[in-house]
Symmetry: C2
Amino acid sequence: MSTTDKLTKRSENFSEWYNQLVQKAELADYAPVRGCMVVRPYGWTLWENIQAGLDRRFKETGHVNAAFPLFIPLSFLEKEKEHVEGFSPELAVVTIGGGVKLEEPLIVRPTSETIIGHMYAKWIKSYRDLPVLINQWGNVVRWELRTRLFLRTLEFYWQEGHTAHATAEEAQEETIRMLNVYSDFAINDAAVPVVPGLKSEKEKFAGAVRSYSIEAMMGDTRALQAGTSHFLGQNFAKAFDIQFLDWNNELQHVWTTSWGLSTRFIGAIIMTHGDDQGLILPPKLAPHQIVIVPIFKSDLEASRVMEVVERIRQELSGFRIKVDNRSEVTPGFKFNDWELRGVPLRIEVGPKDIEKGTVTMARRDIYGKPGKSVVSQTQLPDQVGKMLEKIQASIYERALTFREANTFEPKNYRELGEVEQKGWAFTWWCGNAKCEAKVKEDTKATTRNLPLEQPGGEGKCIVCGERSTQKVYFARSY
Amino acid sequence: MSTTDKLTKRSENFSEWYNQLVQKAELADYAPVRGCMVVRPYGWTLWENIQAGLDRRFKETGHVNAAFPLFIPLSFLEKEKEHVEGFSPELAVVTIGGGVKLEEPLIVRPTSETIIGHMYAKWIKSYRDLPVLINQWGNVVRWELRTRLFLRTLEFYWQEGHTAHATAEEAQEETIRMLNVYSDFAINDAAVPVVPGLKSEKEKFAGAVRSYSIEAMMGDTRALQAGTSHFLGQNFAKAFDIQFLDWNNELQHVWTTSWGLSTRFIGAIIMTHGDDQGLILPPKLAPHQIVIVPIFKSDLEASRVMEVVERIRQELSGFRIKVDNRSEVTPGFKFNDWELRGVPLRIEVGPKDIEKGTVTMARRDIYGKPGKSVVSQTQLPDQVGKMLEKIQASIYERALTFREANTFEPKNYRELGEVEQKGWAFTWWCGNAKCEAKVKEDTKATTRNLPLEQPGGEGKCIVCGERSTQKVYFARSY
């Protein structure tokens, strides 16, 4: 582990802190192809835990997984006008296969609405075939110019749900249902507070009627779009001729949705919870929930300590546990190492603990001495469970408090400009794209979303002063 | 479900039976790109169960998962001579990214030894970093000309393990360990009897020192290579400069292995167990282990039957269970449908069962009346568990008996030609590639592998008569 160089402080240079931390914690590394990443085992295990949390929720809401091809004929993209306009600058194109120039180039999927639409047209015949509720876990490629590990890479990993329904109402319900699934996951598993809401016309998905997102505030107060859910209306159904015979035996186009959450979410976890010492991982998702560090000086001490460590490991086998028994580094080195890597709870076992029948527990979220407590070995399984719950709740509360402290309600356009340097602005907005564009030009902030929970009443657009019944978040974003 | 056309009989046309069955059972479908497949939810759930069975074994043997990029610079492939010769005819090449012609074309990974080798060179410094035991679940692309769903497609899904070790012995042990993991999975989870053994020089992986495989006999007696494990020696370590400081502080190249099992294995399951009625899925991997079909004529009967069905479903919640409550089709249609789709056990619940407190269980592996039994509802959970075990054991035994009945030990070259039309030949072979090539030319059979379990002693090569101490399987293969 390359923790020999010191981590740049988060408080001094957030961006540099992030870049270093992703690599030092061995979450990911740069690939030899520009803009691509290698997700290392520690990062991939975190992603597997994210997958498990989401997949369980998808299955509970009636979805099944499938796999659609990586390659899409270029002509497919062209069938939906906005879709091709949105994605064509970002395509990776295969022009040679088996040594021969292809007659029609194939694109590497940037998203799969088109090829899935094509298959749905083949499979769906009658209202009895609806709804179709399919999700896919996979990789996609978007040719981005400025890339950062997890946040924006050429290839990334995600899930994309694609559903087809008999009515607009059902499709709209599904869109909101999955947005809520994302919120529930973010809040309860990742301890990341999010705002679910509607994207503006300007910010919506290319080809959608309406896009929704969950937005999270990072530790530098910038916003990160952490998941999206789209109501696609009949746009793709018409482009791909997905029709069904309804209850009256009449042919109708289906209504579709799509929704996705990607490895970008790992970036959200890092930037929501991390501190100067490194990562702080939510207990529900951490690859190791607990690290045990044995402490001893002599061989005799070692064997007595390791005996207790082994017993504790077995008693705590219901948790994801790591015993760090490296002999070439000191306990102090191990403490720093696992703090950097964000393990929520450390258990130290030394010769004095053996005598007293105790261990020392150290919480990652409260750094140093205040986070330490001495616990009887007999009460450990119970105490550990409670402490992990406490950490999970505590880092959520901290992030929520931070977001609230850095969300402002500017009274006028000048104040909007000021607060955009410090955090999010929550303001009335008339909905006009011109006002949105002006804010972006003046402050670099974009509309994040119109939250589903609105205060009600009405006010005046912060830009043009028109009457408005909706409030929006403006923020600089990742 | 498109079960309206009758399935071609396996006994009449094995190949056509296979092609129809994959689609009718909704395991997979053809994609609009030549040679690519869509794995439908039923097929993907089967794959998820295969993944779970393997992933558990990988983790128990100390492996972790990670993700390496889809794109590999063309120059990487060229660093290992045999590797590039083997794979260059099969490459898909990306030449355009973000609208611009790329300076160096990128290939879509056909396998990841090269890019992983590049990363290992960066990560591995000292013997303390070894062994590296990483696996990756993902998709790869090989531009095949003749394709069949699951058996050979342009894009397929697999896992590829890549490990690095300090000594040749350790790497060789790992190669065999993972071969044994595959055998254990095939036999115990998939009920597919396999022969683990060494591939010939001609048939080995491009870039390997030694390749091992598990070979299974399909229902038409042809062989299918169902998983491979390669000892790569220092070939990739030298090509990518993967070096470590050993215990004496001297720089050495590591020793590597790779091993893979793919969605092709689904083809093996279909062709090992299936019959004229359709699929027979092994209980340990089946998406639905049990289907419950309620039988009723009136609404009154329906409500009484469904009450019992619901109670049974809850009592059997430890199993993967499907209740078929479609109202638009008859029970008879449902029986055929789930037989086609290979559900191991069917439970029928009708009005008479309600009166008597019984249900009818029907085993999929013993078709028709002989496979049926009447069971008391109170004993159901116990009986179901036992019956699923019995089916799992029974289909394994049947496949093993079939393989043994169709494996021959020809006495001379003429007999070899004859038995190749009927099954596998197990014969002495001198190891010379010329003899191997002659058999292929004369009979279309290739060497499958030299099984790890050898009879001992010696004999004469079936082709040239030279003395030999090893026996090999010759067979026509997929």
